[in-house]
Symmetry: none
Subunit: 298 residues, 2 copies
């Protein structure tokens, strides 16, 4: 076919009219734009291309530099590269439906400050009223689902748990290992419910979880990041095991709590997570954020 030779395609985007930026990532150098191509709805996705080792020599000789800053042995420049060495991958979805547009839309998050009191008066009533279903978790615990995926089980009703791969992990390589430990106890919603009473449970998960990962995946405990989320995405206590060095979604300091720290905090103060102010991000469309706003806490 005429791939790369269609003269019409050369400037197709010059008639594109931007309506709104759906999302972008400064880190990944991507942008998702909604707009119109002629009279049709369209989504245009731009992503800068990775820098290839093979292009370096040409890039260094063929580019111009503009000095920005110099301090001691460090200097920074803006480099103007030849366009063919610095392409932008472009995807056009046209005509795009409402569903495409929603799919690419990002929501801003805000950091919420939740005191122990806020938890009792705002968060807990909200969780209870929503009564988020954890039926799928119970199905796993009862072996009605995903039984063949279980990596390890300690069946003890008090300190026991199931360990299994997270959905996000395809299990093809250990580089992005992601496992979840789900406790057998059914009445622990989150970090906020933990007291020193739960130390045997937490220590058991930490110890046996690390042993199971070593046994099954030959990955040492020192290569693991073991943590809880607050807020969690479902209110049945679970612990994340991810490979250190893999930047798993949700491993940021604003949402993750190292299990080792949780244990230490409960050892020095049995009521630590009942009384502490906790910080976490909530998306603009999260119902809980609305509750914090109503309460004048944001």
């Amino acid at each position: 076919g005429g791939v790369g030779k269609d003269p019409e395609s050369e400037h197709i985007l010059s008639e594109f009219k931007t309506s709104t930026v759906l999302s972008d990532s400064a880190r990944e150098k991507t942008i998702f734009v909604h707009g119109k191509l002629g009279d049709q709805e369209a989504v245009v996705i731009l992503e800068k291309t990775p820098i290839r080792e093979d292009d370096l020599a040409e890039l260094f000789t063929g580019s111009r530099l503009k000095l920005e800053m110099r301090n001691d042995i460090y200097s920074t420049y803006r480099l103007l590269a030849p366009p063919q060495l610095n392409e932008i991958k472009t995807t056009v979805v046209c005509p795009a439906t409402e569903k495409h547009i929603k799919k690419y839309q990002r929501q801003e998050s805000s950091l919420v400050e939740e005191t122990g009191e806020d938890y009792k008066s705002i968060t807990l009533p909200y969780i209870q009223k929503q009564s988020f279903s954890v039926q799928w978790v119970h199905n796993i615990l009862e072996k009605k689902a995903e039984a063949e995926r279980i990596v390890y089980e300690d069946p003890d009703p008090e300190v026991g748990f199931l360990l299994l791969p997270d959905f996000k992990w395809d299990q093809k390589q250990v580089d992005d290992l992601y496992l979840i430990a789900i406790v057998h106890q059914r009445d622990i919603r989150s970090l906020r419910d933990l007291t020193s009473e739960h130390l045997p449970l937490l220590q058991n998960i930490f110890q046996k979880g690390k042993e199971a990962v070593l046994q099954r995946y030959s990955l040492a405990a020192s290569k693991l990041r073991v943590y809880l989320h607050y807020q969690p995405s479902y209110y049945h206590l679970h612990v994340h095991f991810t490979k250190l060095g893999y930047e798993a979604p949700g491993c940021g300091v604003e949402r993750a709590h190292l299990l080792a720290d949780v244990i230490q905090n409960l050892q020095s103060d049995p009521q630590y997570y009942k009384t502490r102010t906790l910080y976490f991000p909530l998306r603009a469309d999260d119902g809980l954020l609305g509750k914090f706003k109503e309460a004048g806490r944001l």
Copy 2:
């Protein structure tokens, strides 16, 4: 000075000879290259810049597209953009020492468990023996360098600090905002040196830093992630301000400590960071990891 006007700088990289690629990231569009500039060792870091909404119109009209694939409503292109709309941020470290080269080399990390005792017997002696230079930090504090980059200053010798953009941030968009607050006090190495005595300093940085970001960048405090690193990359106390939602390197729970948590911990226990076991990743080639191994702590 001659910032941006030095004609020599325009083609400084055309004489750069690549020895090896230290690391790269296809996701982040970065590459770290070791080589020689003349007869000096140098590290060159290239990072493609985020795509700015403000540039879209010009990008769409001023670029050429090459069709790669067309399937139903989806098509992909390679976009050739005008160089000034598609810069590559370039950092040159020259002359670079062995330590710089190591710093940028991709390495597996291990999670280290450092008790208060380990800090005194292993980490502190190591830091003191290495006597890492923080001359560049002193240059900033004394306005001998980067004075024009200062976003905010509180000159108080006890609780004062300078706020300025991190090298990694090109300041073109607020999406990946990254600022560093550097304290005027010169004898605080890291989190481990903090006690309740430093609460006025920490609270001052937290409060005035957030105000300065709001004033300068119209970004509310609830959109910020404010944290310290342990281990830090240099032993002069500094605090990171990054935009929530931007997955800044080093914002993972294994290395970052929310300033709000640090303040709260010191309020409830003045010696918290002297006595606590802290967890952090160390790269395989980090001298400190060797010390922990020698001590049988790993």
